[in-house]
Symmetry: C2
Subunit: 114 residues, 2 copies
């Protein structure tokens, strides 16, 4: 099985992070991963409120987050364990992730009808 | 001449801002507009360091920034005057723009060779 690609911290770029988090569904998956201290299994993110995310979309979202340098993924048997790289990313780009997740959270507070 | 579309502040969404600023060239144009207090003419952003931005690309960048709610554009005779909407956007999503522009600035400081 091919090893999973993870960019080195010095290769992580703002445009990659912004692109990865410019999809609200993907941003929500990232927020969930970042919120779980230990590695979360992919299956934990298979639904967003009432919506079910198809497995193929979920895999694609996880891949984009990983290649942007936002998460670290590790195969454990048949499962994939994901954890946020927010510590190192925040050291590189201080406040960026908090501001982005904050903007999405702020919006969902302001529009409870959506 | 059709009036230019500007989203109302309550319609501005994080995903639109992230998408608009996920292109480094566009982010740099936005940073220049945000840095100029008064309205800057489009022609002021026609070059980035040694690189010349084709007029068609520049128009497209400006349109995407405007539609994301990041800038306000106004025709003045044959010129287009642009000003940043950072005040209202920052009120809606505190710290977001500063963090994004900061990340790009931080990167250019760290990689002087690029």
């Amino acid at each position: 099985m091919r090893p999973l690609f993870h960019p080195a911290i010095e290769d992580i770029r703002p445009e990659g992070i912004l692109h990865a988090l410019s999809d609200p569904e993907r941003a929500m998956i990232y927020a969930q991963i970042a919120g779980i201290g230990a590695g979360g299994a992919c299956t934990a993110f298979a639904s967003m409120g009432d919506r079910v995310i198809p497995k193929s979309s979920l895999s694609q979202h996880i891949k984009i987050l990983r290649e942007a340098g936002l998460i670290h993924c590790e195969r454990q048997g048949v499962e994939m364990r994901n954890r946020s790289r927010c510590g190192e990313v925040d050291e590189r780009f201080p406040g960026l992730l908090a501001a982005i997740l904050g903007a999405y959270a702020h919006l969902s507070e302001k529009t409870p009808e959506s």
